[in-house]
């Protein structure tokens, strides 16, 4: 299985390199003043149709992707309530930055191993979903993860499947197996009883994200990066709505080198972490998220 995944990775890498080579040749032709051959305004090689990873990337990183992620603050609202009033000389923005850092680190350590495992071993989806459910210690976080995971399955079935489950966009045998795995899982999910005590499939977000990205031809790196960036976006969006900062300030944080470095560093750290070793590295975060239910007034679901 590992070998096959490897092959498809390599295929993707080769086509990416070919694309860049073509691109560079065109630019060279332009720079050296030669008459460019044919239509160089769109230097897209003809044979890249099955592999336009950027398109899927743009779809999946779009904040309009209907996952409902923005209903969750990932504990920010509770964190703000627990740290009120702030000690003197600590500005709300500084306090928020601390939270963002902790939240990203924690999200990476608990979820990235599952995202990558589902990407690498799509056949294990059901086990991964069970183990993720067993490893999420707090019902508030569990609800958030399940709601988004099920929304993702919904988007897949109603929107993406038509294009990506067959035909030229299906990137290889691994992706075909992944499509089957998602379908089997989705059937299982629909036939299961919706009882909190049942141990059937739940539909957690992280493993489903990994497998959907695999089918849509994203590489593993992008899959993890977009997952983390979407989380950061959701937290920042929650910060704007909780009046911690303004929208421009939030965009500035999103664009910042610091955030990029942070995400990259956390992904690097968890790149080879097996799911058995995923775990919480910010213990108070579990408390804040879990105590969200105790807030007198709430604008978010978590």
């Amino acid at each position: 299985m590992t070998v096959k995944t490897h092959v498809s990775d390599l295929e993707k890498e080769i086509s990416d390199l070919e694309y860049r080579l073509q691109n560079a040749k065109t630019r060279l032709a332009l720079a050296s003043g030669q008459e460019p051959t044919e239509d160089t305004y769109l230097p897209l090689p003809q044979d890249t149709v099955p592999l336009v990873p950027t398109h899927a990337l743009l779809l999946l990183s779009d904040s309009a992707l209907p996952l409902g992620s923005f209903a969750y603050s990932s504990g920010l609202e509770s964190y703000l309530a627990h740290n009120k009033p702030l000690p003197p000389r600590v500005s709300p923005v500084a306090s928020f930055h601390r939270f963002l850092k902790l939240s990203i680190a924690s999200m990476a350590s608990t979820s990235i191993p599952y995202v990558l495992a589902a990407y690498r071993y799509p056949d294990d989806l059901e086990t991964l979903d069970n183990d993720m459910d067993a490893s999420t210690p707090c019902v508030v976080a569990q609800r958030a993860s399940i709601a988004q995971g099920r929304a993702l399955i919904g988007v897949w079935e109603r929107a993406f499947r038509g294009t990506y489950a067959s035909g030229p966009f299906l990137t290889g045998p691994v992706a075909a197996r992944a499509v089957k795995a998602i379908e089997a899982f989705s059937d299982e999910l629909k036939s299961g009883v919706d009882d909190p005590d049942s141990l059937g499939p739940k539909g957690h977000f992280a493993p489903l994200w990994g497998i959907v990205c695999l089918v849509m031809g994203m590489d593993a790196r992008q899959t993890a990066y977009v997952f983390m960036l979407n989380h950061a976006k959701a937290v920042l969006s929650a910060a704007v709505r909780a009046s911690v900062m303004g929208p421009y300030q939030a965009q500035a944080v999103l664009a910042s080198q610091g955030l990029q470095d942070l995400i990259t560093a956390r992904i690097d750290r968890e790149w080879d972490t097996p799911v058995e070793d995923a775990g919480q590295i910010v213990p108070p975060l579990d408390l804040w998220v879990g105590r969200h239910e105790l807030l007198y007034s709430r604008i978010f679901n978590s």
Partner: protein, 354 residues
């Protein structure tokens, strides 16, 4: 009670221990296996406490106590403790740590074993605990907190396997597992100064066909994330980055209590009620500039930040954080005493560490 001599037929590796608790007819709990090897020491005792009433309908057996001991009351770098415990159906075992907190030591880099350069990370010490709990059997594991010393590295994996061949609720195994870690020796000013503490608690269900399913995994990683390459230079400023301190603030102790099974059903409900009836946060604070709402009259709950959640398969998970281990100890001890399940089913001694 027939206890096998630890000196005969001892094939254990250093630090290994093996315990089997069986119920001999008519209802006589007995340790049919008890082996251990340095640096681990296992002691047992049957205090003769007979539970007066029980949540279980089966004949109630007397709880047996097991003490986990290590020479020096803690673990040195490189120590590996590996304890395997089997609770046969209808038995009850209480596990405590009578030496007080489990200390995770660290040897000075320059006084350590051969070939180690100063500045190198110390060896990890490890503890694995593997407990199999049969039908209607009950485990009560309420140890003292772990106290990792400055620069120590430690990893523990506690695996609990329960018998899932029964579907009847009242026949299930029962588990009460406490796992907590503190910031270190506060008297010496230690404040999350260790290098690594990894704690993993897993509960697996084993069905008739021998298939295992993960029911619960609680994993905590407190890692200073030190780059070993930088350590070669021996620069102290690179070693102290305060990452764990930042990630645990404002707590000086964090812990988890796992409850499962018919015996602890009442206790689980008690915790859930206690959690949901906590005062709402920010209830009277209408304006962002006004001072925070007046604190409710001081009680144990106000000093400890905790959550209780009924997660799945009937597990109740209590997570807590407090400023110091005494506060957490008082809080937990008081709740358990007030509720009474542990004392009723296992006797006062089960709360020895609290």
């Amino acid at each position: 009670m027939p206890v096998k001599s630890p000196f005969e037929a001892c094939i254990a590796k250093p630090g290994q221990g093996n315990v089997v608790l069986s119920l001999l007819p008519p209802s006589n709990p007995s340790l049919t296996t008890l082996t251990y090897k340095y640096p681990l020491k296992l002691l047992t005792r049957a205090p003769g406490y007979v539970p007066v009433s029980s949540a279980l309908s089966c004949p109630v057996s007397r709880p047996v106590h097991l003490y986990l001991l290590t020479y020096g009351g803690g673990l040195l770098p490189g120590d590996h403790i590996d304890v395997s415990i089997t609770l046969e159906p209808q038995t009850r075992l209480v596990v405590t740590t009578p030496q007080g907190s489990t200390k995770i030591f660290k040897t000075e880099p320059n006084s350590s074993t051969k070939g180690r350069r100063p500045g190198k990370l110390s060896d990890k010490s490890r503890q694995t605990l593997d407990v199999r709990v049969g039908r209607e059997a009950a485990l009560c594991y309420l140890p003292d907190p772990a106290v990792p010393y400055k620069d120590s590295r430690y990893e523990q994996v506690q695996t609990f396997t329960i018998d899932a061949t029964t579907t009847k609720d009242s026949k299930r195994s029962s588990l009460c597992i406490l796992d907590w870690v503190t910031q270190g020796r506060t008297s010496r000013g230690e404040n999350w100064d260790f290098h690594l503490w990894r704690g993993k608690n897993e509960v697996w269900a084993l069905d008739e066909s021998g298939k295992k399913k993960l029911l619960l995994r609680d994993s905590l990683i407190l890692d200073e994330e030190i780059d070993e390459g930088l350590l070669e230079d021996g620069d102290e400023t690179l070693i102290r980055n305060g990452l764990i301190r930042e990630r645990t603030r404002p707590h000086g102790v964090v812990g988890t209590l796992i409850l499962y099974g018919p015996i602890y059903e009442h206790l689980s409900t008690f915790f859930m009620d206690r959690f949901t009836s906590q005062p709402r946060i920010g209830a009277r604070n209408w304006s962002s500039s006004a001072p925070a709402a007046v604190e409710s009259p001081p009680n144990y709950d106000s000093k400890v930040t905790f959550t209780a959640a009924r997660v799945r398969a009937g597990f109740v998970l209590v997570k807590f954080g407090a400023s110091d281990s005494e506060t957490a100890k008082d809080w937990l001890g008081n709740i358990l005493r007030e509720e009474g399940t542990v004392i009723n089913e296992f006797g006062e001694e089960a709360l020895f560490c609290l």
